[in-house]
Each structure stands twice: as structure tokens, then as C-alpha cells.
């Protein structure tokens, strides 16, 4: 029997916060064989990153580690500092979360990839510059980047390219284990698919062990043989990917799995993962008249050289009463600019926005009245709320601007509608005392307080945890069914569209390339771009794999 590459036995990690100890990881046992791949899933705060970082003892000083961490049979917790330094990167390396910030912006990427090589020369003696350059070129080729890019600075690379550089760095000293901490979070679907394929290929070719951490089960299922699900510092479920994904036993795993629905699965159509049951579809539902309409909308910006760049290039889109429209596209496709233009926050170069058939005025009392009808929900609820304002003040902001009568009742109604019950309990809290999902509900309540007829939500769940995601989507769907509230949801996530939307519009380079009902567009895509978006979904890969085996 071979020694496992990594064996964690009874791992406990506690952080000393003030005078008290906060347990982050409680009794975790994990084993990874050489060349094996293991996914660790969990929400933020579940302790998954702490587990991964403890392997290389990269935790802050306040962390107290109990238990055994055997890396290739050697206990990391008792290693001397010199030995630990040698083990870091040469035996095990890390692909850090957020490639955008993990690279030094003022150094060329070639130098940064070479850094571990110079610190840990493979043969024991320092490498010459030509040897280092050759190795850097080899590494860049491995991650599908042209070796000539070694002279580039991080800002000259796209997000996906930066993540490849991070992977090249991790591979530099030919480690036996790679820990990838959320390697594809914040990347577009198509780029994510490329990075995942690359990681899978490299790991298989080189017989490297891989631990991948993610909140997205479908990403893990696409790359890992086995998945461990963490919840509140403990492993609640562990098993082969297909089993965990297909037949989750623990309810938390079920929540995680349901949060990322498979497009085309009839079970998750109009059924976001929410604990409160949804009201039934109103019986007399018919296609309403267009409420909010954009006609040939065009917005352009000037870049540094003064060249005009069309962010939105002639878009026609309507949102009707009692309808949820999903606007899908990758970052930079112009969808946020389009939303801001709809709300009158950005002036269009040409084209009109019509509300209820009438053009929206550009300023003055008319615009103010329009803004009562159409409301915005922003992506990141943490920054969308003034940290110094209480929930009550944040929700009352709109009613005060529009001088609505009986402010207290309006605010309480809005809070209850956004499912913050009882309203009194939340009214006096500050944003930092709430969880991410509750904050997003406050932002939604702030919009609902004006009793709008349309809500424009810009990536409303992108910065939220998986289990909260379903609740917020459920809320939007419930509001539509109960109040007839129309919504334009902007997202990069096709699963979201499948969950709640009636119609989908796909945006690419500022233009709408495909519009239609969810079933039409997602099940029978016509445009090449829509097809590539769908093909890049990790759920798609997982399904294909299950079919193959």
C-alpha cells in the first residue's frame, strides 16, 4: 500500500479573536492519494480555505492547529522552519483565490513565475538566467500562453490569462500537490471552462495531486474524482463526485447542488432552491403590454486614445408587466451600461427608453417620477448600503425622497415583503450586523418601498453564498407572482435564467444576439455565442462525463 500524498487526521483549527477562541475547522479527516483529485465544497465561513491553507501552515499567527497533517508521510505541524520552507512550493503549491490581486502589478509575469524557481532550485544549486528563462518559457507553454508573454505586466493580461500565470507559478517547482483555492471565481463561464480543462489536463499528465476549493459543486464535479462538502467547520459528506452531485445525502449538500441548477432540467425550472414554498402561478397569466422598452439604444465611451467604443450598440428590449427577463452576457458585454441607461443614470447617445409607451425624460420632476416606477438592485449589497445608515434609514431613503405619507408603515411593509420578518427586529440594525443575504434583502426592500412596477437587478446574487442565492431568486419570483412585479435580471449565469426567468436576451459585444423565451434560447440556441456559453457550463461537462462512464 502506498503512503497517501496527504492525510489529515482530526484536524482542528481555532482562531483567537479577542479573548475567545472561534473554531474554524472541527475534526476534519481527509486523505488524498498521489495523483488523486479532491474537491472541497462549502460556503464562505465553512472553513474550507482554512483546511487548505493549514496544509502549508499558511495560516495567520492567531490560528491554533491541532491534529495531524501528514504530507507524504511527514507531519507538517511539527516541521522545523527550514524544512517547511523547502516543502512549500517544492512539494506542494497553491493557486490563490483572486488572480487579479495575487500578482504583483509592477513586476513582469516572467519574473514572478521565476521567483519560486530561484528560491527553490530543483537540483539544489542556483539556476543560471538562461535556465530560468527556458523553464519559464516551458511553463508558459504548458498553460497555453505564448512564451513571449513573459515580458508582460499583469494589467496587460485578461483575468483568465492571469489565472493561467498563477497556475504556471504553482507548477514551477514540479510539486506533487497543488491546492487551488477558488481558482475560477470571478471568471467568465467560457474562461472558467478553459481554466478547468487546463487544470484537469495538467494534473492528469503529471500525476499531480489536486485539492480544489470552491463554493460551486458543478465546478468541482467537472474536475475532481471525489468531493468533500464542508459545513460549519466539519465535513458533512464525502464521496465520488457523481454520487455527491447526483444523490446528495446531507441536506446542506442538497442545498449546494440545487443552487447551481442544470439548464434543461425540468425540476429546477421556475423552482429556485428556497425553503419557503412558492405561491402557485396565477391562473390568468397572459402576455402583458410592454412596460419598459428600449428602442435602438446606443451608448458609447471614449477610450484613452479618443476612439469611440460602443458599450451598447443598438439594443431593442422590452419588459412587460408580470414578466422576468434575464439579460445574459459575459463581463464587458455592456449589460451593466445598458441597465444604467434604462434607469437614466447614463445618457444614451441615441435611441429612447420608453416607460408605459412614453419616452423617459432626461431630467427634472419627470425623471424623479419615473424612478419611482423603475428601481435598481445592485450586485454587491455590502457596498450598496451606506455603512452608517440603519436598515430602517436605508429603506426609508426612497420614501423620504418622494415624500410618501406614513413612512413607518411603508418601510415595514417593504421589509416584510422582502421577507425580513418581523420588520422591527431588523429596522435598527446596521448593515455590518447582517449577513450577505439579509443585506441584499434590505436593498430589495429599499426598492420595494417605492412600490415600483419594474425592478432592474444587476447580478443580484453574484456576490452571495449558494444557499442564499436560491432564497433571493425565490423572492424575486414570488414578488412577480404575488405583486405582478416585472424584473430585468442582469446575469452571467444561465442557471439563474433557467431558475426564474420567462424570457432571455443574450448580449455580446454590446448587441443582443438572441432573444426569446427561456426554453427557446437555452434548449435550442441559434447563435454561436449562446451555444458556446451553454457548452462552457460546468454542469454540461459533468453530465457528459456521467454519460461516458
Amino acid at each position: 500500500m502506498t503512503t497517501p500524498l496527504l492525510q489529515l487526521t482530526g484536524l482542528n483549527v481555532t482562531y483567537a479573536v479577542g479573548d475567545s477562541d472561534v473554531p474554524a475547522v472541527r475534526g476534519v479527516d481527509l486523505t488524498l492519494d498521489p495523483g488523486g483529485t479532491l474537491g472541497v465544497a462549502g460556503e464562505s465561513g465553512s472553513g474550507k480555505s482554512t483546511v487548505a491553507m493549514s496544509v502549508l501552515r499558511l495560516l495567520p499567527r492567531t490560528a491554533k492547529i491541532d491534529g495531524e497533517i501528514l504530507l507524504d508521510g511527514e507531519d507538517v505541524t511539527t516541521m522545523k522552519w527550514g524544512r517547511l520552507r523547502a516543502v512549500r512550493w517544492a512539494e506542494a503549491s497553491v493557486v490563490f483565490q483572486g488572480a487579479m490581486h495575487a500578482l504583483n502589478p509592477v513586476r513582469r509575469i516572467g519574473e514572478q513565475i521565476a521567483e519560486p524557481l530561484r528560491l527553490h532550485p530543483p537540483s539544489g544549486k542556483a539556476l543560471t538566467d538562461t535556465e530560468v528563462d527556458a523553464r519559464v518559457a516551458e511553463l508558459l507553454t504548458q498553460v497555453d500562453l505564448p512564451p513571449s508573454r513573459a515580458g508582460a505586466y499583469p494589467h496587460e493580461l485578461s483575468g483568465g490569462q492571469k489565472q493561467r500565470v498563477m497556475i504556471a507559478m504553482a507548477l514551477a517547482c514540479s510539486p506533487r500537490l497543488i491546492i487551488a483555492d477558488e481558482p475560477t471565481t470571478a471568471l467568465d463561464v467560457i474562461v472558467q471552462a478553459q481554466v478547468l480543462t487546463l487544470l484537469t489536463r495538467l494534473v492528469a499528465d503529471r500525476h499531480i495531486g489536486l485539492i480544489m476549493i470552491s463554493h460551486d459543486l458543478s465546478v468541482l464535479a467537472a474536475t475532481c474524482e471525489r468531493i468533500a462538502v464542508m459545513y460549519d467547520g466539519q465535513i458533512v459528506e464525502e464521496g465520488p463526485s457523481a454520487e455527491v452531485m447526483g444523490a446528495p445525502k446531507h441536506e446542506h449538500t442538497r442545498a449546494l447542488a440545487a443552487a447551481f441548477p442544470t439548464v434543461g432540467d425540468p425540476v429546477s425550472r421556475f423552482a429556485p432552491a428556497t425553503s419557503t414554498p412558492l405561491p402557485p402561478e396565477p391562473p390568468d397569466r397572459e402576455a402583458g403590454e410592454p412596460l419598459l422598452a428600449a428602442e435602438n439604444l446606443r451608448v458609447s465611451f471614449r477610450d484613452r486614445t479618443g476612439k469611440r467604443i460602443d458599450a451598447v450598440a443598438g439594443v431593442d428590449l422590452t419588459v412587460s408587466r408580470d414578466e422576468i427577463v434575464a439579460l445574459v452576457g459575459q463581463s464587458g458585454s455592456g449589460k451593466t451600461t445598458f441597465a444604467r441607461t434604462l434607469l437614466g443614470l447614463q445618457k444614451p447617445d441615441s435611441g429612447v427608453v420608453r416607460y408605459d409607451g412614453k419616452p423617459v425624460p432626461a431630467s427634472g420632476a419627470g425623471l424623479k417620477a419615473y424612478r419611482r416606477q423603475v428601481q435598481l438592485v445592485l450586485q454587491d449589497p455590502t457596498s450598496a448600503l451606506n455603512p452608517a445608515h440603519t436598515v430602517y434609514e436605508a429603506v426609508a431613503e426612497g420614501p423620504r425622497i418622494h415624500q410618501l405619507a406614513d413612512e413607518r408603515a411603508v418601510v415595514h411593509r417593504a421589509l416584510e415583503a422582502a421577507e425580513l420578518r418581523p420588520a422591527e427586529k431588523y429596522a435598527d440594525r446596521l448593515p455590518h450586523q447582517l449577513s450577505g443575504g439579509q443585506r441584499q434583502r434590505v436593498v430589495i426592500a429599499g426598492a420595494l418601498a417605492l412600490e415600483p412596477s419594474v425592478v432592474v437587478a444587476d447580478e443580484p446574487v453574484a456576490s452571495l453564498d449558494a444557499s442564499v442565492r436560491g432564497e433571493i431568486l425565490g423572492l424575486l419570483l414570488r414578488l412577480r407572482r404575488e405583486l405582478g412585479l416585472a424584473a430585468l435580471v442582469i446575469t452571467h449565469d444561465l442557471g439563474l435564467a433557467w431558475n426564474i426567468a420567462d424570457r432571455v436576451a443574450v448580449m455580446y459585444h454590446g448587441e443582443l444576439v438572441e432573444t426569446g423565451t427561456v426554453e427557446q434560447v437555452l434548449l435550442d440556441p441559434q447563435h454561436e455565442y449562446t451555444k458556446s456559453l451553454l457548452a462552457a457550463l460546468p454542469g454540461g461537462t459533468a453530465q457528459r462525463r456521467t454519460v461516458e462512464t
Binding site: 443614470l345 424623479k368 424612478r371 435598481l376 457596498s383 451606506n386 440603519t390 431613503e397 435598527d428
Partner: protein
């Protein structure tokens, strides 16, 4: 209506708690606390002066001492060339210095905050115009401008206040503009726009409360500068000749030959008084800045 009162009470309780936290952080810095205590003592003494000392000693005609007598039992810090007590004059000088310092700082901070917020909030040509205007005042030698202003305006304490206030605001305006730009880039400003909030709403509800702490810290530093500017103007002879100020005491010492006759007790007391008051304000201002500016926290 007990339920209607609750949120307000809770809001006040939170405000009190945050004030307490600010105070704890401030009081944790020994230098800042020392500065505050000594500054408080100075202000109290200045306010109580008419009760605890005799103003008539400042009158040239009623002076009792011999001219330029060195420090002795009757006059602890000696006398000037009219026979007035230097100690009495120095202590009374505190009143005008503090009055001018506070008023001028208030005036300059109000102007600076107004221009800073307006420039940052409206942007475009408004910002360009206001910033060039600010730059103009920033490069103008403020002392010469102040001298010119006090020469044109009628003599008096009010003139000195206006002269200093109108020349000291550009740095505050720059600071406030930078802070406003930071706040206005936050998404909650976008949310307020989308809710239909106008300029007044955004400035009043979001920008001003966010800028205020820094402005407060800045004010205390500006007061110190204003005290120095006041002493300089009086020393140069453009101040109010009828009120006793530190600058005026120094000017008298120079004009009446006290310095050439080696009467150090006419020069050192007002000079040291200026240094001390400015030091107190700087200590308090730095302390406040450390509390309010997260980047200065270790």
C-alpha cells in the same frame, strides 16, 4: 406612541456608543489627551480672565511698574516699557488669539468644505472652475494677501478673522474634494440616484456625514495655523492696535527697543505662549486624524 419612539432611542444609543468608542480611541493616545486637557485649561482660563484678573493693568496710563523691570516678586515676568505686567498681557493675549483662531478656522473650513464638496459633486466645468480658483488661492502668498485685505478693510479683530479665513481654505477644499470623490464612487450613491435622490439629498445624507470627521480633525489643525497667522499679522502692525494680542506684545518689544536692551522677558513669554497653543491644537488634531482616518491606524 412608545413604539414610535423606540428606533430613535436606539439610534441615539448607537450614536452614544460610537461616540464612546471614538473617545476611547482618542483617549488611548497619551499625547492627544494631554493636548486636549491643556487646551481645555487654556480655554477655561481665557474665559474666566475678567473674573480672576484686573483688566486695568493693561492700560498704559494706569500701569504701576517701572519700565522694563526684569522679573521680580511683584511682576513675575517683568514689565514692558510702559511698566505693564508682561504676565498679565500674555494671559490676556490668549483671549484674542483663541477668538481669532477659532473664528478664522471656522470661516476657512466652511468655505473649504463648501467649495470642496461642490467641486467634487458636480464635476465638469463647475469642478474645473472651482479648482482653478482654489489653485489661485493656493499659490498666492497668503500672508501678503492677508496684509492687503487688512489694509483695505477697517482695522479690527473682525478684519483679521476675515483676512485669515479667506486665505486659509484651499487646503481644506482639496482635502474635502478628495474625500467626497471617494464617497461618491461607492455604489450606495448610485442606489440613492436610482431611488430618485437629488443633489441635496446625496450631499446631505451621504457625503456630508462621511466627510465631517475628517473636516473636524482638519479644523483643529487649521486653528493652530490661524493662531500663528494672527500673531504674524499683529506683529507686522496690521492688527487691531487696541486689543492686546501676542503679536502686538512682540511688536511693541521690537519697536520700543526692548530687544536691543536685552529685555528677554518681553519676547519669550508671548512667543512661548504661541508655540504652546499651536502645539495643543496640533496634538488634538493629529489625535482626531488618527481616530478618523483608517489609513493612519496601525
Amino acid at each position: 406612541m412608545t413604539t414610535a419612539e423606540t428606533p430613535r432611542q436606539i439610534a441615539w444609543a448607537r450614536r452614544r456608543a460610537s461616540l464612546r468608542r471614538t473617545w476611547r480611541e482618542f483617549a488611548g493616545q497619551r499625547a492627544a489627551l494631554t493636548g486636549l486637557v491643556l487646551l481645555g485649561a487654556t480655554v477655561v482660563v481665557a474665559l474666566l480672565l475678567p473674573l480672576i484678573s484686573d483688566q486695568s493693568g493693561l492700560d498704559v496710563t494706569k500701569a504701576t511698574g517701572a519700565p522694563l523691570s526684569p522679573p521680580n516678586g511683584d511682576f513675575w515676568l517683568g514689565t514692558d516699557n510702559f511698566g505693564r505686567s508682561v504676565l498679565l498681557m500674555t494671559v490676556w493675549g490668549t483671549r484674542i488669539s483663541l477668538l481669532v483662531g477659532f473664528s478664522a478656522a471656522l470661516l476657512s473650513v466652511v468655505i473649504g468644505t463648501l467649495i470642496g464638496i461642490t467641486a467634487a459633486h458636480f464635476g465638469g466645468w463647475v469642478s474645473a472652475t472651482l479648482l482653478r480658483f482654489t489653485d489661485f488661492f493656493l499659490v498666492l502668498p497668503s500672508l501678503i494677501l492677508a496684509i492687503a485685505l487688512s489694509a483695505v478693510l477697517p482695522r479690527g479683530v473682525g478684519t483679521i478673522i476675515i483676512a485669515i479665513g479667506l486665505t486659509a481654505w484651499p487646503s481644506t477644499a482639496r482635502l474635502v474634494r478628495a474625500q467626497t470623490l471617494t464617497i461618491e464612487s461607492r455604489p450606495y450613491i448610485e442606489r440613492a440616484h436610482a431611488l430618485g435622490g437629488g443633489h441635496l439629498h446625496i450631499i446631505g445624507r451621504h457625503v456630508l456625514p462621511g466627510v465631517m470627521p475628517l473636516v473636524l480633525a482638519n479644523t483643529t489643525l487649521v486653528v493652530g495655523n490661524a493662531v500663528i497667522a494672527d500673531a504674524t499679522l499683529s506683529f507686522l502692525g496690521v492688527g487691531d492696535p487696541n486689543s492686546v494680542t501676542w503679536g502686538l506684545v512682540l511688536e511693541n518689544a521690537l519697536n520700543n527697543g526692548a530687544i536691543s536692551r536685552g529685555a528677554w522677558w518681553n519676547v519669550l513669554p508671548p512667543g512661548i505662549a504661541i508655540v504652546l497653543v499651536v502645539l495643543f491644537f496640533t496634538l488634538v488634531g493629529r489625535g482626531l486624524e488618527t481616530v478618523f482616518n483608517p489609513r493612519l491606524k496601525k
